[in-house]
Symmetry: C2
Subunit: 336 residues, 2 copies
């Protein structure tokens, strides 16, 4: 479909990791895309690649502030508003916790008002962090979570919970058609090497031959979704006809320990880097795994990319990014 036939999609946070893949996918599916980003955690190279796409444009803006007049001026063209704006890794979102909270609450407020004004559909990317350190496993959407509202992760976790509350109030009042995705751990090219999350940390440490850091004994579990699967899920959710009054988990239910992840990485990266153990950060969740029954039933969606393939692609991309291609094993090249 030609760029623009499906109207203008606003992607707040579109220069970030998932956002950059989403912007590309939306242009490929016939949207014009206007990306808003404050470039807080975005990689400039993500943006340069996007700016070459037909139908893509960019405005540097922080959604904490009222949206630029140039956005409201195009309200008549806007059909979709995707809100991916917020630093998502603990070191990044904890650097300025007040800004993190306001990004989630005020940013969502501004973008919901834009969607209302434009009559556009709105999608909030919420997070598995709304479940905190879950006592129910795997996590279904009805689980209310085990979240500290007083701790150092609260600026993000509670910010997202507040953003969900705002979003569902818009739906209840008929002010906008909304969708809420709760995104579980996602990985792939375009992540920031200093992102601070486990896949990027372990991959970059292994590739560069530095110390490989494992928090705790490595028995905590995570589940990892490749970014192309996540983007497919987000678009299917946005385009689905479900009545958006419930959140939808998106993630990969294949659960593994951090130690198992490291073994998979060491199978595709030749490294002499030693493994060192550090204390678990405060409030770090011990287990995290989505129940994706709702997404499967409503969207016909499930992750397709095997971890081996996704990791190999991501390793190849990071190797290029940090200049460490020599460390890639033959197996990595084969899988990618």
């Amino acid at each position: 479909m030609a760029a623009g036939n499906r109207g203008l999609a606003i992607v707040a946070g579109g220069a970030g990791f998932i956002g950059s893949h989403l912007c590309r996918a939306l242009t490929e599916r016939g949207h014009e895309v206007l990306c808003l980003d404050n470039l807080q955690t975005a990689r400039p190279s993500n943006l340069r690649l996007l700016e070459a796409l037909p139908g893509f444009s960019f405005i540097e803006a922080d959604v904490v502030n009222p949206l630029p007049a140039a956005v409201a001026a195009r309200a008549g063209e806007i059909t979709r508003v995707y809100n991916l704006a917020c630093a998502a890794s603990p070191p990044q979102y904890q650097a300025d916790p007040e800004h993190t909270m306001l990004t989630n609450v005020l940013g969502t407020h501004h973008l919901l008002r834009l969607a209302e004004q434009a009559g556009a559909r709105f999608l909030l990317t919420s997070t598995s962090e709304v479940y905190g350190d879950p006592e129910m496993h795997p996590q279904v959407e009805a689980y209310r979570g085990w979240v500290s509202c007083t701790g150092p992760r609260a600026c993000y976790d509670e910010g997202k919970r507040a953003a969900e509350a705002l979003t569902f109030d818009y739906a209840r009042l008929g002010r906008a058609a909304v969708r809420v995705a709760r995104i579980f751990n996602t990985y792939g090219p375009n992540m920031h090497p200093d992102d601070g999350r486990v896949v990027s940390n372990l991959l970059c440490q292994a590739l560069s031959g530095r110390e490989i850091t494992v928090h705790g004994d490595g028995s905590q579990t995570r589940s990892f979704c490749y970014v192309s699967d996540m983007v497919e899920g987000l678009i299917r959710l946005m385009e689905s006809d479900i009545d958006g009054t419930e959140p939808v988990n998106l993630g990969n239910p294949a659960e593994m320990t951090v130690n198992e992840l490291l073994d998979r990485i060491l199978a595709i990266v030749d490294t002499e880097a030693p493994v060192v153990h550090k204390p678990m950060p405060q409030d770090d969740p011990r287990r995290r795994r989505p129940d994706i029954g709702r997404a499967q039933a409503l969207l016909g969606w499930a992750p397709q990319v095997p971890l081996e393939t996704g990791l190999a692609r991501t390793a190849a991309w990071f190797a290029e990014e940090i200049g460490a291609t020599a460390a890639l094993s033959a197996r990595a090249t084969q899988c990618a």
Copy 2:
């Protein structure tokens, strides 16, 4: 102590129910008081009585907006910032859920910045609602709650959780000395007759002879703290030397069912009003009772006013307010 010797206290929400009692108590204890209120749920008569007090002044302002310049201009005098701004009963805070969320998040943000600028101590009145429909009983401060972030109470519950998160981040970053009180059900004179909470509802219905509404079968429990006890707890918390990195429950641990409360009310109000049962509102908590061990240990505080006394005083005040003094039994007059 003469008014003003303890510096200027800002009381946001000071024309409301608890706020009006707090303003009075602060002027009596040597503070000048500047009350900020948007008059959304305040009773004009509360304000008229306050305006007669020496050292009291009022500015009509909504904390969702940047604070009036006249407030910042007095930063050098401000020693205490109390944030009580937010409608607190479900029908009131659900009337404009977006405003409720922004009052909690943006309002707290603006008042924290004021406290930082003034070098003043900040107290947030949070709520037992941060525990949601609790699965732990009684509720200790470390309990993380069972809160829906998607339902119709979320604008308030999640707004307060987000406000706590913001407040503790200010403490962690050394930007302000903070205190957070989690207030449980409170009752007393100056409540709004149409407040929508169980004490005011049952008292006003009994006094006026209208239908008395009990939600569900009345077996849900609450615990009720008389307002003078609550104000004493808030001031002790603000003035305590505790390091404000943890919230403190304030409330009365004497738990009773709504049916028991009604019996106590019918003992002091002569009424022919019939009792009708209505469905429980969505997400209404079944049980609620504070563990006040922390307040007792840190502040030497516990509620002093017996329910019989407090109810009689409140009934007498409501009777005057709604013109139904004839319905007060001799027992009510005796207790008050």
